[in-house]
Structure formats: structure tokens, C-alpha cells
Symmetry: C2
Subunit: 436 residues, 2 copies
């Protein structure tokens, strides 16, 4: 049995159920002929439609002028979308400043995560850096130590890349079984945006890495002084110094004004508020790579420098916060990604693994990016046991949770890319479960 | 001489100049060696960096905890980015409800426009529609008239497409010469997002178009009752019924909960708050396609049904609101697009057309999408006369403004895709000019 992610203090589960019930009423009048829609309304209920607004009537909003253009110089979502927010799980972390919130994957579609909904994870709160005071220092085993202003960085040739960022602890609570009842909470520590950035290689070439330089230390300017060691090969291959996401400046909580992008590798390495890159001949073994972000194995040893995020997928709809609303035709939707390259195929089962079908991938299929998949299906109210399984271009196939546990044990919270199972009951309600 | 876009009442030009001056100070210490940066600061000026925050000092933001994760469940930009907003031109339109504001192209990069910065254009304000009361009616020359709820629409197979939307009047003030001093105002009625949508074809097949059905009327539910006639062939080919942009629900001002997407065609046809599609055997000649959105030619006749947005480009940086800040290496950046398909090449001149070079296109090159280009160059303070010229996959080449005027005259405001010229003075200030 799964726990409510919001115990104590929040109403996530309650909200989901209430939404399910009211939405089912609305779903009951699916695609009616002209003139029949209003007959199936339930007047008097705030949750259902107002018959006065339905055809053949002229709705209220056609009779009045709406907001003019200056109302929101920086726009915000519709007031009817207030439930679409990042949410946290209060009992999961001890403080607000060293905490996490989650992307509402079940409310999104396509592959772009809007900036306002990209999950946050920081260890000392989101640093607020004055852009004119921002500096990036490159030093250590280099011929010419350098300090860059933000403007300096913007003088190097730029590139634009769409990449997913996944926290190493995403799905971490699920190692010990189905824990959190909602894909926002089980899988919501991932987002996918287009970065505008300078290749780190260009800056390292400017500084001139000495022959014995093999590793970098990336350090953040936040109160936590976040530090990670990164192999030089990776840095030269595809790491980016990013200053824009989805076209605009990085958000504060994503490292404004500059963050490191380490495509396909665990999110904590994508150092935010990047202030310093030191070149050295070996890794630093900082506390972020010893006491944290290591995986304790069953035999007592710890798995370290587990950089790559292996191929993974999740069905976002239906899911516990987004139940099935009505019988008939339905769209199953989900996301797949791989830190090793492109997703090549996603399989979906609706009967707990007896039968699998290849999902329809739609939209862009990009290297180390979220990839959207769909299964269009007809539902007659039968119970469904839904799973998805991602394949990537290296031939890697997403494992089951039990297969992962056999290799890694259950003593850690990182790198759980096991297959997720949702149980859809005959009334459409959906639950996080595990099947053996 | 160009007019300030903000006369009277706003401070756009003033802000740009002030920004230019302060940024130049900051630019003066470009890429200094370690330990030398702070020496070139101007202490005491609020506009320049605070030496106490510069290396080797530990900056203020490394000493305090930042905002925790619950501060902004729906995130917003950094407080240092408050100048990055949609802006309007007060003297351009008579009322706030029938008006327009402009995307700040010079502040953006990559090809995705963040939802909060997508320009707005509406004729009766932004309608506020209750999603449960939303209905889309399809009727006229069909076998089975239908009314769809929002939930009904989400049951059809979905697709994800990135497309630009450009208002037919974008650059319209420039027909009579250089008018508005900033690319936000000359070219900012364009945006580019990923839509999640149902192909209109699927809904029309459900309704069954009769053999004599050749045109559609698309009608909005706003106070203006926006209506446009669309050829059936286009509707079946690539039109979309969109309910998400960049992953989340459409914004109110972009037609929440549902808008029509008409790839490559003029923006006013992308009917927002879509309530009705009627199938007929000929166009309707609504006032939006007779008194508006037609081009008065020099001989007194009017050009109508000018659907396609021809290939166009603009250099966004440098531009009047984003001057060059310092000599040495610089990045010229711009956008190109075509309503006929993919952009295949962009040429750039910096000497008013004597020499052209092929720009570096970076990032995704997609059908009927904004495309990002760059020229990395060294600037030694010489005056520059900058232009860009887009080519598309049909072989079409963006014309000069004078070439356009010869064919279309100067009596209209629509479909100005002529080549834009920026003059960069030796101090970096940049101006909208025309050269013959």
C-alpha cells in the first residue's frame, strides 16, 4: 500500500480524488451531438459546466472585453491552472533550504518543461547573484588562470541544446517498494529545456589545460558551496556553460546567471551559480561525492562516481494524480530518456507484462533529451496494470525494479531507473503498485 | 531619423541608453587575469560591481541561505531580469483591449520563446474561459455535426510540433521607412513554441466533410468574435487544435483552453479561444478578411487571402536595444523563419551589402519554425551596417524593402518581410536605418 506523499500537512491525495470525481461527471458527456451537450449537465454543481455558457447560448466571455495587453508584461498561467505547480513532500527533507520540489509531469505534454515548473533541488537555498558581480574563475593546472564576467562568457561562440536534467535521487523512495502515490513525486525530479550556452571546451582552451590536467572541480557560489569532480574528457566532449534556458535567462533556482550542463549525467553535477572551475590530476572526493551521491551496496561497499543516468521511462497519464476519466477512446502518454544517447523505442504493457506493444513516439527524438510517447487505446472499464520500458541507441533496455535490486540491493536512494507500475482500477482511479 | 517607440509615456529608449552606458563600464574589464578584475571596478557606482563580491573575496550570496523550495511553486524570472518583458507602443493602437505587445527578441536566444514573453494580439481583450464550459462545435457541410468538450479533444491521438506564429502586421510600421528603434518593436510580433495538439483532420474525419465542403470558418469565443476562412486543403494538411504550449496549458492570452494552429500562415488565422468551425463551399469574406488583413495596392486594388508568411530574418543582437558593449570578439545573433518550410541558409553583411557571409545556423532547423543563426566576429570599433537575408527550401530569398515596395506599394501594413538594416556606430550604439 502506498503512502500519501503529503502526509502530514498537504492535501495532494484529497485533491486528486476530488478532481477525479468531478472530472468524471464532465467526462460523461463526451462528444455529444449538437444541442445535446447541455442536457447532460448537472446544474447547481460548481464543479460542472454552467448551461448558460454552452451552445447554442452565447457564453459569458463572448459578451465582455477581456484583459488588455498590458495586464501582464511577463505572462502567467490561466487562473484555472493554479493546481499545476511544483510540489514538495514535507516529510522528505528537514529544511526548506536543503530540499526539493517536483515537476508536475502528469499535467505536462510534449518534451519542453516550462521554466516555471522545472523542479528545484538545492542544498543551501537558491543563491541570488547580482549579474554584474558574477565571476567565473578557471584555475589549477592551466597555463593562464582566467576570470570571466558574464559579458565575457557571452562573447564566445554559442550553441543551443535540449537536454534532460534528472536528479540522481529521482524515484529514490521507490527502492523499497511503491512509496509515493503520484508520478509528480515518483518521477518529477526531471526537466527538459533548451539551453543557450558556450561549450566548456572553448573556455578550457582559452586557459590552456596542462598535460597532467585530467579532472575538473566545479564549484557553486551558493551557501552550500556545491562541488563535484568531473573527468576532463566529459568536459571537453559536451559540457556547456549555460546562461539561458528556453530562450530567457536562467531562473534563480536553476543557477542564475550561469550553470554547468553535463548532458546525460546526474543532476547534482550540473553545478548551479557556477563560480569556479579548477583543473587537477585526480578527483577531489568532496563530501558531495563521498557522504552523498554514492550508493551503499548490500556487501557494505559504496558505488561512487555513478555519473550516467541510465535509460528510464514513466507513463505520466494515466497515473495516480491523473486517473482515467471515462470509458472509450483514451490516450496513454509518457516520457522516456537516456543519459547514453537517443531513445530508440518504448514498449508499453497494460496487462502487467503479458502483452507488450511498441508505443508511438511523437515529436523530436534528440540526444539525451526527454522523448514523448503515446498509446492510443480503447478502455472498457477493465482493470489495467500499466508499465513502460525504454530502449536507447546503445541497446540498453530499462530493467525491472527487482532486476536492479538484485545488483544494487536496497540500501541506497540513487539511480533507480526501474520499470514503474500503475494499477488502474475499474473506476479509473490509479495507484502506484509493484508486481513481482 | 527613427522615432522612439515609447513616445509618449514610456522610457524604453532612455532605459536602453542608460543600460548601454553602464554595461560598457562592465565590459571594460573583459576576461582579466585572476586577481585583476576588482582593480578595474568603479566603487561607489550602483551600476558597477561591488568589489567585495569579486574574487578572491567570498561573495555575499555564498554566506547566506537562499530562498527555499516553496517560495515560488510556479517560478518566475530573477529580479535582475525585470526589464525582460513584453512591451507595447502606446500611440500605435487606440485601446488596451484591441492592441498588441511585442516579444523582447533582443533579450532571447535559442528558438523557444518562453510562454510569459510570447507577444499578444487581440481584438477584444483576452477571453477568460472556464475549461469545463469550453465547447468546440463543428457544423455546416458535414455528415454529423459535433460538439466537443475539452476532455473530448484530449482523447484523439496527439502530436507535438514547434512552429513560429507571426502577426501579418509584424514590421508593418517599416513600410514607409525606418520607424521604430528596436527589434522588439520592428520584429517582435513573432513567437515560437512547441504545441501539443490534435490534428484538425482527425476532428473533420469524425464529423465527415461533405463533397462540396471546400472552406472552413474558424470562430473565436472572444468579445471580438474573431473569424477567418481557411481552405479545407490546408486544414487537412497540417492545421492543429492545440491545447498546450511548451508543455503546459495554453496561456489565457494565447487562446486558453484551445487555439487553432495554422503553420506558416499569418497569425490572425490561428484563431484563439476557438469555439466553432463551420464547413462551407466558399470563403466567408468576414470583416477580418475584407476591412482588415488585406493589403491596399498602389493601383487601388486590395490583395486578399495573403495567407503565407514569406521567408524573413532579423539580427536581434546587436540591435537598437542591445548595442555592442565592447571591442574585441563579439557574437552577432539573429532569427530566420519561413512559412513555406525550413530555412536553408542565412547571409549576413556588416558593410551594407558589399560583402556577405553565410551565418552559422545552430540548433534545430525545423519546418515553419524560428531558426537561430550566429556570426562570431571581431569588432575594432568601426561603423557597421548590418543586414541578414534568409533563404528557404523552396529557393525563395528574402527581398529588400525596396524590392517589396516596387511590387506592393506603401499603402498597407501587412507582410513586410524586407531586409532590416541596423547601423552600429563606433561607440556601439545601434540604430534602425534604411539604405537604398
Amino acid at each position: 500500500m502506498t503512502k500519501s506523499p503529503s502526509e502530514p500537512g498537504s492535501d495532494v491525495t484529497t485533491t486528486s480524488r476530488r478532481k477525479f470525481m468531478t472530472s468524471t461527471l464532465a467526462g460523461g458527456m463526451a462528444m455529444t451531438g449538437v444541442g445535446r451537450a447541455s442536457a447532460q449537465q448537472k446544474p447547481g454543481s460548481a464543479a460542472v459546466a454552467n448551461p448558460k455558457n454552452l451552445p447554442p447560448n452565447v457564453p459569458d466571455w463572448s459578451k465582455v472585453l477581456g484583459d488588455g495587453v498590458a495586464a501582464h508584461p511577463y505572462g502567467k498561467p490561466s487562473k484555472f491552472e493554479k493546481h499545476v505547480v511544483r510540489r514538495d513532500v514535507e516529510w522528505l527533507t528537514a529544511s526548506r533550504e536543503s530540499s526539493v520540489n517536483f515537476t508536475p509531469l502528469h499535467e505536462l505534454d510534449g518534451i519542453i518543461t516550462p521554466n516555471g515548473l522545472c523542479f528545484e533541488r538545492h542544498h543551501g537555498g537558491a543563491a541570488e547573484i547580482k549579474p554584474l558581480d558574477y565571476r567565473l574563475m578557471i584555475h589549477g593546472l592551466v597555463n593562464k588562470p582566467l576570470i570571466f564576467t558574464l559579458d565575457d562568457l557571452k562573447r564566445f561562440p554559442r550553441t543551443n541544446r535540449i537536454h534532460f536534467l534528472e536528479c540522481a535521487a529521482n524515484s529514490g523512495m521507490e527502492w523499497r517498494g511503491a512509496q509515493l502515490n503520484g508520478c509528480q513525486f515518483t518521477h518529477g525530479m526531471v526537466h527538459n529545456v533548451m539551453y543557450t550556452a558556450v561549450p566548456l571546451k572553448a573556455l578550457l582552451e582559452e586557459a590552456g589545460v596542462k598535460p597532467n590536467g585530467k579532472w575538473l572541480l566545479a564549484e557553486g557560489a551558493d551557501a552550500a558551496g556545491m562541488t563535484r569532480s568531473i573527468p576532463l574528457d566529459k568536459a571537453l566532449n559536451d559540457c556547456l556553460i549555460a546562461f539561458k534556458m528556453n530562450g530567457e535567462a536562467l531562473r534563480t533556482e536553476q543557477g542564475y546567471p550561469v550553470r554547468l550542463v553535463v548532458p546525460g549525467w546526474e543532476g547534482n553535477m550540473w553545478v548551479k551559480w557556477l563560480r569556479r572551475i579548477e583543473v587537477g590530476d585526480q578527483p577531489w572526493h568532496t563530501h558531495e561525492e563521498t557522504s552523498k551521491y554514492t550508493s551503499l551496496m548490500s556487501d557494505g561497499r559504496a558505488r561512487r562516481f555513478s555519473f550516467i543516468m541510465d535509460a528510464k521511462s514513466v507513463v505520466t497519464n494515466p497515473s495516480p494524480e491523473a486517473p482515467l476519466l471515462a470509458k472509450g477512446r483514451n490516450v496513454l502518454s509518457g516520457l522516456a530518456w537516456s543519459g547514453r544517447g537517443k531513445v530508440t523505442r518504448v514498449d508499453v504493457t497494460m496487462d502487467g507484462g503479458r502483452n507488450w506493444q511498441e508505443a508511438r513516439i511523437d515529436g523530436l527524438v534528440l540526444d539525451k533529451s526527454l522523448t514523448r510517447f503515446y498509446v492510443d487505446f480503447d478502455w472498457q472499464g477493465q482493470e489495467l496494470v500499466i508499465q513502460s520500458r525504454a530502449h536507447d541507441e546503445t541497446g540498453y533496455v530499462q530493467p525491472t525494479k527487482n532486476e536492479l535490486r538484485k545488483v544494487r540491493g536496497v540500501n541506497n536512494i540513487y539511480h533507480n531507473n526501474g520499470i514503474q507500475t500503475w494499477l488502474v482500477r475499474s473506476n479509473g482511479e490509479t495507484e502506484n503498485v509493484e508486481i513481482s
